[in-house]
């Protein structure tokens, strides 16, 4: 299994190396779809220059990355391209290992359920065979490494790649049931961009499942575990934040990084939903809608974790998608991360309903982004409404995609407990309707 993975890695690295050397790299690095004000490499370079001059990198309104990133690149700026390729490789390998582990667990669970005769008889065709599960980890790595979105954001040297790598390592350590590492990587990811905080719910669920701690609010063990995990998370977050403070000697970065993420002052167009709304809005509604938009991102955690409490990995997938759709400065790199999980759910294929429509829309939108940008900014003949219409459509398609997978997942689970061919009370064939 290692040989195909190595091949894929070599192919991916070759593509990235070739593109880094081509003239496309500069064009891609300026695309608003690929880099956001948070992750743009240009801004990191500016921050580094300020740092070298002995000025705080946050004193202007250019640099918004975290102090750890800038100190990382302080040392490896000459090897930036290698760092980014390495980050992608780490992401892919971590996802590969994580999915392998997940599949192992799933298979064990399925075997147990089969032995216990938990599944209805007509559900045998829903049972997953080891043969089809064998290639899934490889496909996940392939999906991430050869995804044009991931390639673009690596070529643009968007620091989103590094965030993805941290999140992938977090997923891996959670899968391996390493509580401490999971907490550390979660706090690192949170430190980088706040939003991964909501991944604590699936992590907790998975770790508790792993240690056979029942989800019972009246049990002390439940709360004790949560307290442990929270302590580890907050502790490492505290250490990281303290470290950043001692590196820079000031608290500037808090407002410049987290204030920037939460209050969305930069309304450069991107593929997200924020910029147009906040550009059009009357100033006195700004705070209100800011709260609404940000709470929206975090809010899905509650219903989703209640519904998916037995399936934390699917919950991770959903949460990643929600983050990349609703975060304030999304880029295509975020989308690449959750898209790479799609092969894991390949067994849901027969329950997907809109996959053709959705993939067509995603394809068309991805092609239209640069075209409409050209018409708006260079030709001057279109305007921001054209671009935003496509952004909106793109996000609607993403939401449809995710909800389609959600529905398919729930439906499979339903069939697994009630049988595949449902009968109505009068004996005719029943259909499941989502209302």
């Amino acid at each position: 299994m290692a040989a195909p993975l190595t091949l894929v890695l070599i192919l991916a690295v070759t593509i990235r190396a070739a593109l880094f050397r081509s003239s496309l790299a500069d064009v891609i690095a300026d695309r608003v779809e690929v880099v956001s004000p948070l992750t743009a490499w240009k801004r990191v370079v500016e921050g580094l220059a300020l740092l070298d001059l002995g000025v705080s990198p946050y004193c202007g309104d250019i640099f918004h990355e975290t102090p750890l990133i800038i100190y990382l690149f302080h040392f490896v700026v000459d090897y930036a391209e290698i760092t980014f390729v390495l980050a992608d490789v780490i992401t892919a390998v971590a996802l590969y290992k994580a999915v392998q582990e997940y599949n192992k667990q799933q298979f064990r669970k399925q075997k147990y359920a089969l032995e216990m005769d938990h599944y209805p008889l007509d559900c045998l065709e829903l049972i997953r065979s080891p043969k089809e599960m064998y290639y899934i980890p490889l496909k996940v790595a392939l999906f991430y490494l050869l995804n044009p979105f991931a390639i673009l954001s690596c070529i643009a040297k968007s620091t989103c790649c590094l965030n993805n790598a941290i999140i992938a390592l977090f997923i891996l350590s959670t899968m391996k049931a390493n509580v401490l590492l999971s907490a550390i990587f979660l706090s690192l990811a949170t430190y980088q961009s706040i939003y991964p905080l909501i991944l604590c719910a699936p992590a907790l669920l998975h770790l508790m499942q792993n240690q056979y701690i029942p989800l019972n609010f009246w049990r002390a063990r439940f709360w004790w575990f949560i307290a442990q995990y929270a302590f580890m998370c907050l502790g490492s977050l505290f250490v990281i934040i303290g470290l950043s403070f001692f590196l820079l000697g000031s608290w500037d970065y808090l407002s410049s990084v987290y204030g920037f993420i939460l209050s969305v002052p930069d309304l450069t167009p991107n593929i997200g939903l924020f910029w147009y709304f906040f550009a059009e809005m009357f100033e006195h509604f700004r705070l209100f809608f800011l709260c609404v938009f940000q709470i929206n991102t975090f809010f899905y955690t509650i219903p989703l974790s209640i519904k998916l409490r037995d399936h934390p990995v699917f919950l991770i997938f959903m949460q990643l998608a929600v983050i990349s759709i609703f975060k304030s400065y999304p880029t295509v790199g975020d989308i690449a991360l959750y898209l790479s999980f799609l092969p894991v759910w390949s067994h849901l294929q027969r329950f997907l309903r809109n996959i053709f429509l959705v993939s067509c829309i995603l394809l068309v939108c991805s092609a239209l982004f640069p075209v409409l940008w050209h018409l708006w900014i260079y030709a001057g003949s279109a305007n921001s409404n054209f671009y935003y219409a496509i952004t909106l459509l793109f996000n609607v398609a993403q939401i449809l995609l995710v909800s389609d997978y959600f529905y398919a997942f729930l439906r499979r689970e339903h069939h697994l407990s009630y049988g595949l061919y449902l009968k109505r009370e009068d004996g005719t064939e029943a259909t499941l309707v989502l209302k």
Binding site: E132, V364, V371, L375, A379, L432
Partner: protein, 613 residues
């Protein structure tokens, strides 16, 4: 959401779309064509109106008196031009200076990738002369441009004369709030390109020019003037710019309003407006006007010197004087008054022209069709591709009832290879079509008795034709017998590819997208390996991009009422190809790379599907 979530309704909808796929496609195609033709019908169009308040409500009085003197200047200019054997730079500098302008010159040189046989030029050297009239009333942050190309022979002298006359007259007026730049450019578009690149300090086409020393503010609008006779019968408005970009409609409205006010006969595409829209002749007249505009736009070349301004966000049009055998004559004074009026109104602008439309077609000068009206025509054609793709998808995901898992594995793995091979090969052929003609011209000239230009064009045609033989042979060699699933997957990919490609093209250049859709969509819809091969192959070649271009050349000549026989048409076709390639290398027109790198490979995919077995 009921439609998306209720399985019964979905099934009903999908089965409806699958069962009635062919009839719906035919209806969509006919409706699309009918919609487009209906756009020229006057009740379906909007009257033009001035959207920009700054140009609409204010009155200006035109008093330009010196038409005769301008003509005298033009005769002087013509004499000096003959003496200098080109642009009389010194005389122009002196004359402009004597009229009180700040005068600057810019020299440029450019070696064409291959000789331009239409204009007989290869190594081009020239000089642009321009004078700036500084605005007396405002900070000099904005500018307007009036240009007249100094072309070879005896043409366009009157335009330069009128330009100098207007410069003298404008100098004496005090209400200019924007700098006015009077530019005389040599070697038409090449000079224009050099000047614009110099003015904006960019170099996109690798031309050599000396830097520009005098600048006005940021240019708000530009008029290009072409006059070749002392009296004219009508003025023609040229809108189509590089890559089919159009100026803001308000500029056309402004021209039309002043023509009406001063009483000059004005035309668009050389067609006079008719009032009898309800008669067949009247309708066919406006159809012809609109089709001419569509074809000019689709060609993607700048149809006047204004065409290059548009790339820099500057609204510009060319005004062309026409002297035909009509009774009613207009003298230079009147044309001067018209230009004065237009400049006075442009001078009133408070912000860039942005109020009116940028996407439009004009069936006559007083009527226009906006993007919201013409896009459905394209949408109807494009939806055919999506419907066919949906149909294919349905066939692919619901195979005859065999149980899922192992099957999908078997189907998809040859599928990927059999799709990837033709995709890569046809794109390589496309890349060859793009790169070979220019790079192989020296070799071709050495070995064959042809000139450089012929070598380029003939190589292009040869590569194009060779591409027809290449892909399906290699495919057969690589992956053996094609499977039923294989071509379906390939066709699905090709359909989506074509839909995205045409959609993007239609957004940037509607006419090009629509013409390509008109020819490629029916072909894409019907082609399968099971249709009669020889006949379909013939049809496929007929609708291929190159043949579309050939027919367009004949059709264009027909519309312009200068029909050509086949021999002349063929020569014209060859020169159109060479011009297209030159446009790409000289001005950065994207039509040639678009056709060579994307449309042609896409067409090859369908060619591949036809010869799948």
């Amino acid at each position: 959401m009921g439609l998306l979530s209720d399985p019964n309704r979905r099934r009903a909808l999908i089965s409806l779309l699958t069962r009635l796929n062919a009839p719906i496609c035919v209806v969509c195609y006919l409706a699309g064509v009918a919609w487009f033709m209906g756009l020229a019908f006057e009740p379906c169009t909007l009257r033009t109106y001035m959207s920009e308040n700054a140009m609409g409500s204010t009155m200006v009085e035109e008093r330009f008196p010196a038409g005769e003197r301008a003509l005298a200047t033009s005769r002087e200019f013509s004499a000096h031009k003959k003496k200098a054997g080109g642009m009389p730079v010194d005389w122009l500098v002196k004359t402009m200076q004597s009229r009180g302008l700040e005068v600057f010159t810019q020299t440029f040189s450019r070696t064409l990738p291959f000789p331009d046989e239409n204009k007989e030029r290869y190594m081009v050297k020239g000089t642009n002369v321009y004078g700036i009239l500084r605005a007396p009333r405002a900070p000099r942050t904005e500018a307007l441009v009036l240009t007249a190309p100094c072309s070879g022979g005896d043409s366009n002298n009157q335009a330069v004369g009128l330009l100098l006359g207007l410069a003298q007259y404008f100098r004496s007026q005090i209400f200019w709030a924007k700098d006015i730049i009077f530019l005389v450019n040599e070697h038409d578009l090449i000079g224009m390109q050099a000047w614009l690149e110099g003015y904006h300090h960019t170099n996109t086409t690798g031309m050599d020019w000396t830097p520009i020393h005098g600048r006005g503010g940021s240019i708000q609008a530009a008029l290009s003037l072409e006059l070749s006779s002392d009296v004219i019968t009508s003025l023609d408005l040229v809108l189509e710019g590089l890559n089919g970009q159009l100026p803001n409609l308000d500029l056309a409205n402004l021209f039309y309003a002043f023509c009406q006010k001063i009483g000059v006969v004005c035309t668009i595409q050389g067609k006079l407006q008719r009032n009898d829209w309800d008669s067949v002749a009247g309708y066919s007249h406006s159809v012809q006007t609109m089709l001419l505009m569509a074809m000019k736009q689709a060609s993607g070349r700048p149809w006047g010197d204004h065409g290059l301004f548009l790339r820099y966000h500057i609204e510009a049009v060319t005004i062309k004087g026409v002297n035909s055998f009509r009774q009613y004559k207009t003298d230079a004074t009147t044309v001067g008054r018209l230009l004065e009026g237009m400049f006075r109104k442009l001078n009133n602008l408070l912000e860039r022209l942005h109020q009116s439309y940028f996407f439009y077609l004009m069936p006559s000068l007083s009527h226009f069709v906006s993007i919201g009206y013409y896009m459905p025509a394209f949408g109807l054609l494009g939806s055919i591709l999506l419907l066919r793709a949906l149909d294919l998808w349905n066939q692919l995901v619901t195979p005859p009832p065999r149980t899922g898992d192992g099957d999908i594995e078997q189907v998809s793995s040859p599928g990927v290879l059999s799709v990837l091979t033709p995709l890569v090969i046809s794109h390589l052929t496309g890349a060859a079509l793009y790169f070979l003609p220019i790079h192989f011209q020296t070799i071709a000239v050495e070995h064959f008795p042809v000139s450089e230009t012929e070598a380029v064009v003939l190589t292009a045609i040869a590569v194009y034709t060779a591409g027809l033989a290449l892909p399906h042979n290699t495919h057969r060699l690589l992956s053996g017998e094609g499977t039923e699933q294989g071509w379906k997957v390939l066709k699905l990919v090709a359909l989506l590819y074509l839909a995205v490609l045409l959609g993007c093209t239609a957004l940037i250049n509607f006419s090009l997208g629509f013409i390509l859709a008109l020819t490629l969509v029916p072909m894409a819809a019907f082609v399968t390996p099971h249709v009669p091969q020889v006949l379909s192959a013939f049809v496929l070649v007929i609708v291929s991009p190159a043949c579309t271009l050939l027919f367009s050349v004949f059709f264009f000549q027909e519309l312009q009422e200068v029909p050509v026989n086949f021999q002349e048409g063929w020569m014209l076709y060859l020169s159109v190809i060479s011009q297209g390639i030159l446009d790409h290398y000289l001005y950065g027109s994207v039509i040639y790379p678009l056709i060579a790198l994307l449309v042609y490979p896409c067409w090859l995919l369908f060619w591949n599907i036809l010869f799948w077995k």
